[in-house]
Amino acid sequence: MTKQNCIIVGAGHAAAQLVTSLRQQGWEGAISVMGDEYFLPYHRPPLSKDYLSGRKSIDDILIRPPAVYEKARVRFGLGLRVEAINRTDKTVLLDDGESISYQKLVLTTGSHVRKLPVPGTDLPGVFYLRAIRDVEQIKGFIGHGKKAVIIGGGYIGLETAAVLKQLGMHVTVLEAMDRVLQRVTTEEISAFYTRVHMEEGIEIVTNAAVSSIEGGKNVQKAVCGDDQEFAADLIIIGIGISPATELAEAAGLDIDDGILVNEFARTSDPDILAAGDCTKHYNPIYDRHVRLESVQNAVDQATIAAGTICGKPKPYNALPWFWSDQFDIKLQIAGLSTGFDQVVVRGDMANGRSFAAFYLQEGRILAVDAINKPKEFMMGKQLITAKVEVDQAKLTDEAVPMKELLS
């Protein structure tokens, strides 16, 4: 029999974890990773943080140095796109015409940025932010005293706004909804971030749906309806992402706002697995399918996929978590707050920059948003998994150490 081959489509965060996990768990066959970017897998979070600001270089953000992949005997085909999967022959077709066969196939295709459906997004100076190549182009338009408009007040938009402000630009954030972060968090946290960004001198305009982007040789302004115009030398659009499911869909795999996988990272074809942003997985903690856009999910699910491939299946039951760094604020989120019936705050949310919001359902903690509160984040994770009823008087009393809550 020929040697087994495992093909991984998409050289991102999940892929970087998968290849080493496969070796650690005993996969002896070949491993090939096909990626349409020209870089080895890198950390995306710094793209809107330390890499955008110039504090980190490409080498600093590579997830692993090339030597690790060499040692793990992983072959990378970079700058190559997988065009199609043929499940009958068990082959994938590359955009250079080559076709390669697999025994196991893993889709780690990540996500696509959602496009803003208005005229003018192709003007020079207008960008989305998903990959190194985007940041490299954005850097050419950053300048002290120049104007930046960020379309979309999500985490990536707000982080980008913070960095551009620190680089001396005048920054305006345009949000179509009535508050920033509406899709991902509660009113309280939105209000907090609005306050902080305003304190830092960033203008936030809500209910501002951009209807067109205008300019000549370069972008000049974003226009909202009939009466509002915002001058801009640089526009960055961050209005969300959608899972990259097109390959899986064309191959006839089950899809529902993400490639559907079970708790072992298997798709509806037993020889095809999927991990990371492109999936919607069954999560036993929440007893439903969830789609997550986070490094945690990419790393944990890839580890699960490796176990399944190596015949050591372990169900996925990691607690979702996420972080965001803006100015001097470290936000750490654990759990999913969907379904909460009460918010309990520890610390001063109206002033200052340090507090934690706990989301409860019938007295048990579902999720925590910790702002410059690492202890609350760390203990919050344990309290969520322990599913105990918490003493709310103690939880709101900062004089009571967090550790006492889990006893």
Binding site: P45, P46, I61, P65, V68, Q296, F377, Q382, M402, K403
Partner: protein, 106 residues
Amino acid sequence: MALIKYIEHNGTEHEVHVENGLSVMQGAVDNMVDGIVAECGGACSCATCHCYVDEAWFDKVGAAKEVEQDMIECAAESKPTSRLSCQIKVTDELDGLVVHLPESQY
């Protein structure tokens, strides 16, 4: 350059050379040392790079700074010698360093 020994919870030892300026976490990740997950890539946000500095080395490595200290204090299985390995920078002085890894990073 420093030679660092990582000892997994099950006793497996890894001895690797790590360049100055890198973190002890990066040294582990770069050499496929199981037991350091490092989800946030060194942003001091996840505590999945938790390690115990060998007693003999603890003073030389030094204590954690504020945010890190808070994270460690509330980490599962935290000990007085706990550190987040992404916050320990490798220097010549750390040649021979020994760190022990916890059973789980979660």
